[in-house]
Subunit: 433 residues, 2 copies
């Protein structure tokens, strides 16, 4: 049995508390697997007095988290404060400056300041492990960097935000509208009081930027990820999508193309026969498409104290086993070359609310034709002469820019009474049936 | 850049050929990820002359694979011959005797001779990596041993044989019968001329024994796995299962219980709303249920040259990175304590072919009652007085032994004209809807 690994934890929210409990409950199991006991020697959090159900009597308390990095009784720093600025960055900088390994769940920091972090690593014997930063308990970071390391990755995509997946699942099963389900999600603790970080796709975008960096050996760059959220999805869209054989999911998609890397977060229609269509509730699911392995899916809890603690401690086990790796699996990450998303090819679902009067479909069809978009289907259910009715169009494959141009023009028609709503149809390489 | 890692490959079938090609095609990528070039220096296979589309001119040929282990130009031995006896074992023994790491795809050897292999490892500085032995390209070994290493595993289960899943998927989509689809699977190369190894659940059983050993820190022991295959599933079963809201899948299930570890390979009814119900064709899918992480699913190609080569080379990358681990993730694997499967609790689907005459259902119901099995539903479609008709029964949860006793008695009724066919209903912890 080796010498104990002394751990300092910054942040004792849900995840930090679970990490503390896991290390206590599974002390024997973890020591057996690493041949090295782990012990939490120091912590730091916002308020010292709070009852977290943890016995902190034998643990050193630091008011300033950065002091963890300078504590000689801390071998490895676990950063669970979050946020891309301020204290989290300072702590990581100081730990690396002292050549200590860092384990973090901080997606924003890696997605927004990946370049700075790499620069710090260059001058340090320390390392950064971040399994918990993407998709909670799903071991997707190790999956990409180690399990699938023999592959040139073609694409990585999936459901990266549990809040959005919960809301979409509920909308789908109950027929209720977005605003209504959001309130429920907030009451159940699945969504924050200010939900915009989740429902506008920012959180998923941070995770995708990290996956993309790792998959393609590039510096993560959130600014190159196009993000669309789920605010504008109506129960109508879900109903029509179902009629067409689809479910609606918020997907993150990063894809290597001749023109660079395409990265987006956006609601997509997925075939109801695809496994990803059946990922319900707050789960996450990530596909990796590698040139030798083909498509590998990993699915599980994408958030929550215990699943995320599982990921944090798996990183600590790597540290104890002496098995850390370069941040992005390569010694020479490249700047990310981003592709213009307007040139992306895809088929689309377009919801229009139009006045039910002669000639409307003819006007819309003419615009699509002029933009060289080929229609696959037009659906109008019910009649209501002179009143607004929904019309759903689906297109064959077309460059996204053409579709966007058409949608802009269609939105200006007098008979189109609400802004058109466009979603991508994602067939995962299958041909439409 | 480190010194080259010199590789000797034994076996140049589909997988060996793909490994050779991958290492050539991705030489730069792999060297970048490991900081150590890899080069195949020696090979051994059954016939030297055969055209495999590989340039072997600069590679040493050994007629006897064991010579690879003694070749000073071989740092790591890749064993892709398969089989639990003879040459494969001798090669691994010799390599470990020479303190060389081994990478293998040999499930039979690890499942049947795990104890012997562990004894060899004890006296060697060599290691054995075997990502390719289970579920082809899916990185489930690393997933369990590293990604989910912080968890006490409660269960591991899934679809472990692509041949069976292909056959069941085809039966389900086409309504055809087993024998008919088997012929097609053989023609397409998904099934062997002698298919019994796959369709009787032996191959899946080997994989489950390994997963079970790794998940629970025990010596793999195939003899403790109950194996049932798919020969007796009829198109009728598939049809009735669908009517009841299920799909039929051949599952491997290993579960930790108070009574020991339950391990079985058997056809199961799974809810059509579960993601595993939508794993189609030759894919594999494995769930790990860990106490902190909850359920994590991994899905992908479970066989084939390229996906399996992805797994083999990921192990070589571990060797090059100096990141190998103990065979079962622990220094002290225990003998596996197997639970009596008769005490397992579950609900069941029972197909009877009975003469359509008064009193049959009453007789059957009485037997079930006497064995304390509680009926959930009885389905009979169509009438054919005096002729054989199918009757489908489903039970509430009951010990398997009770159900087996009832089935034995039911099979002896004069009105029951074919052997009853029993399958488990696997809800994955969900309650029936």
């Amino acid at each position: 049995m080796g010498t104990p690994l002394k751990i300092g934890i910054a942040g004792l929210g849900n995840v930090g508390t679970s990490v503390f409990q896991l290390l206590k409950q599974h002390a024997t199991l973890v020591a057996d697997r690493t041949q090295r006991p782990m012990t939490v020697t120091a912590v730091s959090a916002r308020t010292q007095g709070k009852d977290r159900g943890l016995d902190l009597t034998k643990v050193k308390w630091h008011d300033n988290p950065v002091d963890l990095a300078n504590d000689k009784d801390v071998d490895v720093v676990v950063e669970l404060m979050g946020g891309s600025g301020g204290a989290a960055f300072d702590l990581i900088k100081q730990a690396l400056g002292n050549n200590k390994p860092v384990v973090t769940a901080n997606k924003a920091l890696l997605a927004l300041r990946g370049g700075e972090v790499l620069a710090l690593l260059k001058n340090s014997k320390g390392t950064i492990s971040y399994e918990a930063a993407v998709a909670g308990g799903i071991p997707i970071i190790k999956g990409l960097r180690e399990g699938l390391a023999a592959n040139q990755v073609r694409a990585v995509y999936g459901i990266l935000n549990g809040t959005c997946n919960f809301i979409l699942s509920e909308m789908s099963s109950s027929g209720r509208d977005f605003a209504d389900v959001l309130v429920e999600a907030q009451a159940k603790g699945y969504a924050e009081a200010d939900p915009s970080f989740d429902i506008d796709g920012i959180d998923a975008g941070h995770k995708l930027a990290i996956l993309s960096g790792l998959a393609f050996g590039c510096v993560p760059d959130f600014s190159t990820v196009q993000t669309k959220g789920i605010r504008n999805i109506s129960s109508l869209d879900i109903e029509f999508a179902r009629e067409l054989g689809f479910r609606i999911k918020l997907l993150g998609i990063a894809q290597q193309t001749d023109r660079g890397i395409e990265q987006s977060i956006e609601p997509c229609l997925v075939p109801k026969t695809s496994p990803i269509a059946h990922v319900e509730g707050a789960l996450n699911a990530v596909y990796v498409d590698g040139d030798y392995v083909g498509k590998v899916l990993m699915m599980g809890a994408g958030a929550g104290g215990n699943p995320t603690a599982s990921a944090v401690v798996s990183d600590l086990i790597d540290v104890a086993r002496g098995r850390t790796l370069p941040l992005l699996g390569t010694q020479n990450p490249q700047p990310l070359k981003s592709a213009n998303i307007n040139e992306r090819i895809g088929s689309y679902f377009l919801r229009l609310i139009v006045l039910d009067q002669p000639g409307v479909i003819a006007d819309v069809s003419a615009i699509l034709r002029d933009c060289t978009v080929s229609l696959e289907s037009v659906l109008q259910r019910g009649r209501s002469p002179g009143q607004p009715v929904p019309v759903i169009l689906t297109s064959h494959e077309t460059p996204e820019g053409n579709m966007l141009k058409a949608v802009g023009l269609i939105g200006k028609l007098k008979s189109v009474v609400k802004p058109p709503y466009l979603m991508r149809i994602e067939m995962f390489g299958q041909k439409p049936s």
